[in-house]
Amino acid sequence: MSKKRVVVVGNGMVGHNFINTLATSEHSSEFDIITFSEEPRLAYDRVQLSKYFSGSSAEDLALTTESDYQSQGVIYTLNDKVVEINAHEKTVTTASGRKEGYDKLVLATGSYPFVPPIPGKDQPHCLVYRTIEDLEAISAAAKVSKTGVVVGGGLLGLEAANALKAAGLETHVVEFAPRLMAVQLDESGGKLLRRKIESLGVQVHTEKNTKEIVAGEECRYRMNFVDGTFLETDMILFSAGIRPQDELARQFNLEIGERGGIVINDYCQTSADDIYAIGECALWDNKIYGLVAPGYAMAKVTAGHIVSQLVTHEPATSAFQGADMSTKLKLLGVEVASIGDAHGRTAGSHSYVFSDDVTEVYKRLVVSEDGKKLLGAVLVGDSEAYGTLLQLMLNDMDIPGNPAALILPAMDGQEAVGLGVSSLPDTAQICSCFDVSKGDISEAVQGGCCTMGDIKSATQASTGCGGCTALVKQVMDAELEALGVEVNTDICEHFAYTRVELADIVRVQEYTTFQQVLEGHGKGHGCEICKPALGSILASFNNEYILKDEHIGLQDTNDIFLGNMQKDGTYSIVPRIAAGEITPEKLIVLGEIGRDYDLYTKITGGQRIDLFGAQLHQLPEIWKKLVDAGFETGHAYGKSLRTVKSCVGSTWCRYGLLDSVSMAVALEDRYKGLRSPHKIKFGVSGCTRECAEAQSKDIGVIATEKGWNLYVCGNGGMRPRHADLFATELDDETLVRYIDRVLMFYIRTADRLQRTSVWLENLEGGLDYLKQVVIDDKLAIADELENGMTKVVGTYQCEWKTTIESPEKMKRFQHYINADAADDNLLYVRERGQRRPATDVERIELVDLNSGK
């Protein structure tokens, strides 16, 4: 018997999900699957589209590959739009003229962004946000723009605003309705969201109806509003809602809803029996679902129905029954969630509201008349309860105790009321994107999964929107615990503690040596993981000379000889050049040393000078000269403060608002020598032009007309992260106080080798929590943190100075303990007037030359 032909129009998220379901089902061999895409690529993760701006490539976003489709036998055509359906002959025809017959046709054409009919909307930098091509256009426009406007303050609009903000544009959101996210949030929630977003520097304009877009005076365009006001901008992003892509269905007489959308029944069939519609183009019960999870549910139903009709000839087992539209997101770092009947429209429902103006949290619960069932919720500023609340509602569970307890913050000593995952039924849907139940996750754990990575690949849970991640992890942990598996977070085999626990132990027990900690809390002899970690902890709290006999064996390779080891075993020398400011005399000293010792000399990326290729026995001599000339160690080897990068600032620069160099020198001077879980870098810029790139540093400081703005937890390196704005318009003293607190809190609570960026991302409560600890002193430890820092600052010593003053310590700086000779394995070649280590090939030639002599 010949195979049945299933043609899928559109290869978006839902079309692909359908294909994947059918192609991996037990009946896959009965079908030929043919799909057409108007886009130049196969399906990709539209939900994560914004990640494209933070570095994800089109490949990262791809949901499948051409070779996957080929091996599944799926026939695909890209860049070709289906333009005709012939329901009598059962064929479709594409723009390029290709014709395919079908037994079943599936329309998965998605939706398109709605652009209001405003005169002037079709100009070059007026864009939408839906495809990878759109994002490319946005990136290109952002590069030539200073200001950007997003039209539409809904879910997608705010995501788009986030992208513009991240691209460094002055960002505005223009909304027609009186509040943001009007569909999902009630009035108070919308207000608070607005306040928060504005405090992040995104300007919100509500109740604005755009009349026209004309040429601007200051910027490229001017948007004139109906109320007579206007706004100037260089680019415009329309995000005013989506419209179902029902063009094909309209032309070929399928039933269409009043406001668009292809009408479907519970089996996703359109008005023509053999044509189905799924995803955002489909209208079920007069509703369009603008989320991916309902689309996936439709895909599943349709695949089941097609198999039952064409293969098994049994009645279909599942029908589409509508879907939950609850959402949780983190927009511009603000947590927002909306569940069920967020507006309290159910007859007889009651509301509970918790609102905290200080920490900016708003929560509303909508409960049934009898107070037993949860109907909906709005959470702004703190969406931790999302998972719990959603499960209560979806599983129609009784609210445990007083509903108010579900949204009240935990009082001292009292656990926040939550819902133990153990109380959920096995059927509870945990991941709605992939319809993964609690039972599925438990099964995966029983089958051997024990990390989130395992669970993701086994069940797909939490690989979609990510909203379920916390809950999936809870279910996994609970199941692991039930199986008696312990989740091991020990730092190494010698200590059954995490770095944070070790830091607490050292602080509370007032330990001063590794030996004390090992005897009290460890076993064995330590290793290259726990020794440097404890070495660093001891130094952070006690700040003793790191080459003291009892500490020396703990130091990492570089610290132990106060230099960075190079590939051939020689060292580099990096004196501190605070803020990159250096006198000509000192430059001459560096030049002389470089010349006299034939050291490879380079300006570093940290605004200082690195001298490479010094042998062990040369280090003390060289450092003696440096110390005599007034240099100090630059700690280029340490997990400690590296550099404070500065711009020239108000002393010379015509734009400078404050003296960024003096501030940078002061900060570098204050924190130099501070040992921490990983290295720390600062930047100080004299104005918002940001020549010091402060927003890519752990601590960034930028001058404004009214004082310093403080940014925290930026990172360059392997995974760059923009720093978050932490506090604004600070005076010198407050700035230093906040930095003291942030850094000491980091030192106490970060994991080993965790930069501030990763630390913040893992910190429960995130930036808001850090602000509460540092600015509001929520934990009442601010004094203690400051005292800790004062102690370190007061006990600073230049490690190189101390070392060259101790004949005992100097002894270690020789290649042989029993001879004066130098390492005979070092070979160099000269390049551009300086020496560098010989490569392997060069080595062979050089050695031959030498021995031939």
Binding site: E493, H494, Q515, G524, H525, G526, C527, E528, K531, P532, D549, E550, I552, G553, L554, Q555, D556, T557, I560, F561, M565, K567, D568, G569, K811, R812, H815, Y816, I817, N818, A819, A821, D823, N825
Partner: protein
């Protein structure tokens, strides 16, 4: 009878660190465990990082074995046998070593074969 060569005083090696000795034309890494008199000797050349650096690694233990972690790329070498824990095919020499009257001494003649 084995002849021993004096290399340095035990106290020349800071606890839990290493030093490098020149012995019969070879570079030998000597390690001292904590404050004890226990001393190990293996080749100083790191065959993986290809530099004379093992004496400058961190000393510790893995299970029951005493090891040094190479300062370049952190592979572990067994201090008693010279074996690399990460790669069976890699070994460095191990040398007989003793303490006599507070002095660290290496044996003259061939290295320990393992």
């Amino acid at each position: 009878m084995t002849q021993w060569t004096q290399i340095c005083a035990l106290t020349d090696i800071a606890p839990d660190t290493g030093v490098c000795a020149l012995h019969q034309g070879e570079q030998v890494a000597l390690f001292r465990l904590g404050q004890t008199e226990q001393v190990f000797a293996i080749g100083n050349y790191d065959p993986i990082g290809r530099a004379n650096v093992l004496s400058r690694g961190i000393v510790g233990s893995i299970g029951e074995r005493y090891v040094v972690a190479s300062p370049l790329y952190k592979q572990h070498f067994d201090l008693a046998t010279g074996e690399c824990l990460e790669d069976d095919a890699v070994t460095v020499k191990a040398y007989p070593v003793r303490i006599a009257a507070g002095q660290v001494e290496l044996a003259q003649g061939a290295a320990l074969s393992v």
